[in-house]
Amino acid sequence: MTQPLEILPSRAASIAEAGKAGGPLRCGKTSVAGSVSQRACVFCGSRVVLYPIADALHIVHGPIGCAAYTWDIRGAQSSGPQLFRNSFSTDLQELDVVYGGEKKLERALLELIAKHKPKAAFVYGTCIVGLIGDDVAAVCKRVSAATGLSVLPVASEGFKGTKKDGYKAACEALYKLIGTGDTTGISPFSINLMGDFNIAGESWVIREYFERMGIQVVATITGDGRVDAIRRCHGAKLNLVQCSGSMTHLAKKMESEHGIPFKRVSFFGIEDMSAALYEVAKFFGGEELMEKARAVVRDEVGKIYPQLRAWREDLKDKKAAVYVGGAFKAFSLVRALRTLGMRTVVVGTQTGDADDYATLREMCDPGTIIVDDSNPIELAKFCLEQDVDLFIGGVKERPIAYKLGIGFCDHNHERKECLAGFVGMVNFGREVHASVCSPVWNFVPRRARGRSVLAGDQTIASKLAPTPGNTEAA
């Protein structure tokens, strides 16, 4: 007998259905204790944002876990230095907790800076740093004075808020670099790419589109990031902000302090990628630039459309669940799935706000489940109830999908596939098609039910795949 999958009463307000009346979704709160949230913490938010800055030293001040779990796990690529792919930590021990970790941090910084000669150093605070009374900012100041390097504390104590607060702490640290570099030679047609992390070379793909339009990309923040580029990025005329959650804080700061406007964009899917190019053309003005943008879109879409149309035949009306970190990615995925002929029937995020969820309610088909800060039991329940064919999420969601016989596409930072830009749309289509149309589902017990199992023995298949009706008898 299978127990019904129950939603915790305290979680009910964070779940809605598109097309149904209801107040705003409960969101932006700390997770319910014991709910098994898929979210991480403040530290994670900071680490995710700053990690791809390739020529900086990233040192985690705390016990070993936080550093170990974030060692070289992401697909963020660098065209040069690989320093960021190491894991440096003060590895605090019991005596450090008793006597304080400042001296150890200072020693570690001095040694590591001497050895690796980074362009800057980021020092991430973890949960216990504040509790044991370490003054990380003071240590950073001292090391900075001794080495002449920017040594930047990141206030990322895990429990002091949510992942979003970690984004903010990272933006604050980054902001200390901005405005410290020389801006001579920057074109009047120039932008910064923010919130793209160069997963599988995505920043390079996007940069190339803009360069074809004659737009200079001053800094990619933080994908394939360089300290010197960030120092002078205030010379750009426009900030393009992808992954709205992580970098909007920095963009707003640059707008108020440096007068640089920003646009929220997404580089995922044909529609959003094209819109981003048009948006930039519109911002700088002139029919010539707009024509260049159209030319890029025309060329690129022309290259990929026949292939997408072929996959569309196979994927038509298949159903997808989407659970990702930020809402902008969710919007893009809903649209990209439509391009593939698929319907999104479950969509959720870890960090969306009320406006984001209102947008999702509007853009999704009636009946689509919309959820904030979900957990494995809820996600499984929604996937089963909506009978989805595909799940788009990260590593933590993958086994939920696979165990239930559902195809999967990894759209998180660990992935090694380029999914942004027009070329990314083909890769996305290929991955979705490969998973949804795989022959393996024919053998998965939940899927094999009621299906003829290829040419195999159906008696065996039905024995191996108990239905709710025959479980009790078995």
Partner: protein, 521 residues
């Protein structure tokens, strides 16, 4: 960067670092060769039937650990968190703990919740036994209010009250609560693993069930073999083996006539299970709570780990001291000698001789040693990982002619070198043993040592790649290959698999690096 080297002749490359006030705690780590203690505890708890691990601390700990474990086992691994906020860090985590226990109970209906602390709650000095005691008491009171007495007094929990729902669907038997202290600034994931096993045994062995299971409501938390659990059984504490290793250990003992043994933990199925026909909140399998209770009556206990064998208090010593269960402290059964010791312990425990099937496996292993000995002569290996694993592999390699020139672990318990030399005295003065090591530390030694291969987790890949030598993946984690759950090392047959992989890795390297490219070796 580390570390305590056992071999004084080796120049200490870290003299600059060790000038600090706490020479045994150098200034930091580059590319760690260990994970934090709560991870090990979560892994151990995943081997107990119907158990949900709960971390008392920030949300990130649970999420990072889940992702790390999932990437290795490729199975759903749900770990709950008490989700500290700034308020809980200031005022204490009592409310969060109680809410979390309610919510985990409500969502999962577990048989047991394994509560592990984190650096945050440990630094705050959370009094876990008291907080858990209060929760138990409040659950009891709530049950009494609901008109339940006596045997059913353990039945309706949800102490935090605000969300108490008393429909039959939300009522269930109180889960067992087992707490383990796992500050991440003390020890490694391996030590967290052993601490959790010890807590499980200390908390449950010899106890009686407190309430009547409402088994008609929640059959999935039932003991699958209730009658068998009551009987005296052989207990095996295997350490951090793979699910396939655990299954093989069961078969190994079954060959001795020990059809049902109590493995603690037993994640053979929970972390390497089949595709699901229906959603499973907690995957099937695992040591049951009743089996844990019955450990006081175990016929004998076999506890694996060369290094663990020198620990002052373990799950095994507890059973031995408190209940007089005969204890065999053994190294991980890798190689002929360690497996012979395992078999000797089984002979003592069962009174039966080595079965023919096992003798055949032993014979085949030795035969393959002979077949391969010239391929391996003079080869040098760097071995890294948890101390018990590193020691086990080093002792085995010594049998084959491969010299484990560097054996490195993240632990700092000063047991590794002695553990190796006690089991393989021929290695004394021939190898370097480094505790508190990390990949930055190993990298510094490796250029001089010029190993022919690396043996350990996938985290050594970067080093192996830069050296141009093969990496034989085993242990935890293996994040870049399929089938980490099924890598076998234990038993004669498990050693056989490891041995074949080592020999073939060397043959392949030779073949790849040869200009001629012989297809016949």
């Amino acid at each position: 960067m580390s570390c305590s080297s056992c071999k004084s002749a080796v120049p200490n490359p870290h003299s600059a670092i060790q000038d600090g006030e706490h020479p045994e705690f150098p200034s930091g780590s580059t590319n760690p060769c260990k994970l934090c203690t709560p991870l090990g505890a979560c892994l151990a708890f995943k081997g107990i039937a119907g158990t949900v691990p709960l971390l008392h601390g920030s949300q990130g700990c649970a999420t990072y650990i889940r992702r790390y474990l999932i990437s290795h086992f490729r199975e759903p691994i749900d770990i709950a968190s008490t989700n500290f906020s700034e308020d809980s860090a200031v005022f204490g985590g009592r409310k969060n703990l109680h809410t979390a226990l309610d919510n985990v109970g409500r969502q999962y209906r577990p048989a047991l919740i394994g509560i592990a602390t984190t650096c945050l709650s440990e630094t705050m000095g959370e009094n876990m036994p008291m907080l858990i005691g209060e929760y138990r008491k409040e659950c009891g009171e709530r049950s009494a209010e609901c008109g339940m007495t006596g045997a059913t007094a353990g039945v309706v929990p949800f102490a935090s009250g605000s969300e108490t729902v008393r429909s039959p669907q939300t009522e269930f038997r109180n889960p067992e609560l087992v707490h383990v202290s796992t500050p991440s600034f003390k020890g490694t994931h391996a030590e967290g693993f052993h601490a959790a096993v010890r807590s499980l045994v200390e908390t449950l062995a010899g106890t009686q069930s407190s309430g009547t299971p409402s088994d008609s409501l929640f059959p999935e938390t039932e003991d699958p073999e209730p009658e068998a659990a009551g009987n005296a059984r052989l207990a095996v504490f295997p350490g951090m083996g793979s699910p396939a290793d655990l299954r093989h250990l069961r078969d190994f003992c079954a060959a001795w006539g020990e059809e049902a043994i109590t493995l603690v933990p037993d994640y053979a199925e929970t972390l390497d299970g089949p595709s699901w026909a229906d959603f499973e909140r907690m995957p099937k399998g695992g040591t049951t709570v009743d089996e844990l209770r019955a450990l006081d009556r175990a016929t004998a206990v076999l506890e694996f780990g060369h290094s663990l064998a020198a620990a002052s208090v373990t799950a095994g010593t507890h059973l031995n001291k408190k209940f007089g269960v005969p204890l065999h402290r053994l190294g991980l059964p890798i190689g002929v000698r360690a497996n012979d010791a395992f078999c000797a312990a089984l002979e003592t425990a069962t009174g039966r001789e080595m079965p023919a099937r096992i003798a055949a496996e032993r014979g085949r292993l030795i035969d393959s040693y002979v077949d391969a000995h010239k391929y391996l002569a003079g080869k040098k290996a760097v071995v890294y990982g948890e101390d018990d694993l590193a020691a086990g592999i080093a002792v085995f390699l010594a049998e084959t002619g491969v010299t484990p020139v560097l054996v490195a672990s993240g632990e700092r318990n000063r047991r590794l070198a002695d553990a190796i030399f006690a089991a393989a005295p021929e290695l004394r003065d021939r190898i370097e043993v480094r505790e508190g090591s990390d990949f930055g530390d190993i990298e510094k030694r490796i250029e001089e040592l010029k190993p022919d291969l690396l043996i350990g987790s996938s985290k050594g890949y970067k080093l192996a790649r830069s050296l141009g030598v093969p990496l034989v993946r085993c242990g935890f984690p293996v994040h870049d290959r399929l089938g980490a759950q099924r890598i076998q090392l234990l038993g004669y047959a498990g050693t056989q698999q490891l041995f074949d992989r080592i020999v073939n890795a060397l043959l392949e390297a030779k073949q790849e690096h040869s200009d001629i490219g012989y297809a016949y070796l």
